[in-house]
Symmetry: C2
Subunit: 98 residues, 2 copies
């Protein structure tokens, strides 16, 4: 299992529209991808146009080689891309087991 | 409930020591703070010296006015601070309810 963290900075006047569109696209598109396990959307308290999308995948390949190379990704990026103020930063993380 | 996300960039040769110290200090110090709910430590796949500490607090004040103003915070920062390559970035997030 691997955790993707995508960090989005959104055009200031589009933040509330973005949040709804992201939630909808995550449910309709992302959640249907192979290897998808779950996701959360977090909105920043200090920076109202900053959002984190945290996605759990079975493997990193499911995200990078699977979803990102798929037709579904083009649709996904077409919905959320127009809201970006800057290109998002995306990294993958391992959760430390206690 | 509010989610703190602290983003740490660590001195390159100190990453594995840091991860153990952070885990220990989180259990021994952070987890005893008033309003602490839970935490996770994430290590980056792409950037081996990058870590996220994700902490759930009952309220933002429990973190900012409570923990950060406490003696325990001085001890906490004394343990993890020497490992920092750059000052960490910390923000608070609301988790979107579906």
């Amino acid at each position: 299992m691997i955790t993707e963290v995508a960090d989005f900075l959104i055009l200031e006047d589009k933040s509330s529209t973005f949040e709804g569109e992201l939630a909808r696209a995550a449910k309709d598109i992302l959640a249907k991808a192979k290897g998808y396990v779950g996701h959360k959307i977090l909105s920043s308290h200090e920076t109202p146009n900053r959002f984190l999308l945290v996605v759990e995948w079975e493997t990193i390949e499911d995200h990078v080689m699977g979803f990102r190379q798929s037709e579904a990704f083009i649709e996904w990026r077409g919905i959320i891309g127009p809201f970006f103020k800057n290109p998002p930063t995306v990294e993958h993380f391992n959760v430390r087991k206690e």
